[in-house]
């Protein structure tokens, strides 16, 4: 089973996640898109682990998974806090960083 299909799939997933991040209007949607990107990276990592046959890749992937999970949880919690504070989760309305 050659490697490139896996890479292609993870590349596609990553890009989909990226596009989702750009397109989604509300915070939760963005976090979900981010979740997609995490899945893509995990798949990529697993694929390369398989390619190199070294078990360590799996351990690293596991850790990456954990950290990413923590990240997404915090992301979602922020979305909640944001909603409660700004009464909206729509990212477009949060443009106070406007130059």
């Amino acid at each position: 089973m050659p490697l490139w299909p896996y890479l292609a799939l993870s590349g596609l997933l990553f890009t989909l996640g990226l596009v989702g991040l750009l397109i989604r209007r509300n915070a939760v949607g963005a976090v979900m898109a981010f979740g997609l990107m995490i899945n893509a990276s995990l798949l990529n990592l697993a694929a390369f682990t398989r390619q190199h046959g070294d078990g360590r890749g799996e351990a690293v992937a596991f850790l990456v998974l954990l950290v990413a999970a923590a990240e997404m949880v915090v992301g979602l919690i922020l979305a909640i806090a944001l909603f409660r504070n700004q009464k909206t989760a729509d990212l477009d309305e949060l443009d106070r960083l406007k130059w």
Binding site: L18, L21, L22, I23, A30, L91, D92, L94, D95, R96, L97, K98, W99
Partner: protein
Amino acid sequence: MVAMEMLSPASCVLIALGAPLLGALFNGLSGDRGARLAGRLGLLAMVGCAIGSVPLCVRGLLGETAAEELYVWGVIGDLKLTIGLEVDPLSAILLAGWVVVGLTVHLWLLGVEGDRVSPRSAAAFNLVTVAVVLALIGDGYGSLAIGWGLLGLCSHALLDGSGRTEAVSGARKLWVIDRLGDMALLLGIMLLLAQVGSLEYAAGRAADIPERLAVWSGLLLLVAAAVKGGQIPFHYWWASAVGAPAVANALVHATAMGMLAILLLARSPALFAPGSIPGQLAVAIGGLSGFMGIAMALGARDVQRGLGHATTSQLGLVFVAIGLGAREAGVFLLLSHTFFKVLLLLCVGRIFPEPGREGEAKGLRRRLPVSSWALLVGALAMGGMPPLAGFWGYAAVLASIYRIAGDLFVWTAGCALLLPTAFFGARLGLIIFKEGEGESEAGRGERESPLLILAFLGLGLLTVAGGAMEYFRGEGVVASLLAPSQAALPSLALVAVPGAVVLVGMGLAWAANRSGKKEADERENRLRHLLDEGFYVEEFGERFIGRPLGSIARWLRDVVDVLLIDLLCIGGLALTLRGAGWLLARTQSGKVWSCALAVALGTAVILLLLTHLS
């Protein structure tokens, strides 16, 4: 042992330059507190300078050249810019002359003005000394240029310091013209530097400069000398220089500037060789300014302006001498001219403290016997009375011109020039002397201060005995009397003819004076006005050079500045910046997705780079 050490050139130079410099600094910086001491301090500085320069002069006059490198102030690649010392007979004589003049002027200053000498002018006088000494003893065009510029500064300071309105505007005009001279000087030096690779005179003399470059640098240096010496095209600065107090004119304009101009020409014989174009041009300018100068002097309304134009004519004669290769004679004439001109100017300064008021010379003889007598001696010397220095100077120049150039026509023209000079000298002496007879209530209490008498005595002696120097110099006119001259004219004639011409001139003056003193003055006709205004050269320059340049400047201002720069460049720039700002603002929408977009594109670019660069 210490004496020997003291005599070494370097230490002498240190004293000669140091003393006046210190004097200038003290006077300049002390302000009102030091007002009373200004005069004395100036004199003290001058004495210090004299002490320093006497050994140098003695060494120089004995014919021994002391050359030494004092200070390297710049090394650019293989080009070394140094200030060095080179005292040869030429600079020694000039230095001696300058020291004497400096001392007398300071004595005069102390004697006449005493405590009222303004520190500013005292500082300026000292600075002039520094400038001249630096130029004289310098071994290259560098120090000459420094002296040159410094002199311009001092003349402006003195003119400006006098406080009179027309003096201040004159100062500005003088400054501009002086800058023109400086520019020409610097350009000439640069040309030489580029070709010769060093500023020293020695290198200038040694190197074989290609003919075309020699001509150009020669012309530039000639222009500089002409400006400084007040020769024809640039003589009109005398009109503005008159505003200065007479003593300043005496020291700075008459002697220092002339000395430097002649020094420049004398120091670059290769450029002004008799046959070369600059040499011939120097002769032409010299002759022209000689005749026009004396004509303007005769027509001048004011005594000082007359003397100024007379200086122009005498320096013209020196230019002619150097142009034809008679360097020694030229320098000798310069020296003798310096002595009687300073004497004249000091007397005029004493008699007419305010320039332009000639009338109140009545009762002069009783009031100021010494200055009036000194004035008479100076005027006659300028006229070229045989026993006095003036005559010997003129005779030496004419003799050497004839001997070297062997050109009868120039010799006769020279003698012709002596006629009006003699007439002018005699008339000046007679007017002042005759008018002085009457009683005059003004100035009764004045009495001659001893210092003043001392100064006049010194100068008078020199003007009288100047001729002896001629003999002392060896192959002078007197010497030529003894040694049979192989020239066509017998040497006796070389002396006799000028003498005769002078006497005739003086006789004419006496006759004119006795007969119609009155109608001579009243003829305010166009000729007199023409002469007085200096042949309207200034107005000519104004109309044909000043006005066109002005209109060009205005056009530039209107079209280029306003339209091109303001509207297009700056306006355009502002517009583009505002547009760019607006565009950029749109990208900074603050929305999360636009930032994420930028990040995404960034990653894409990085990926491409990684693949591409590897």
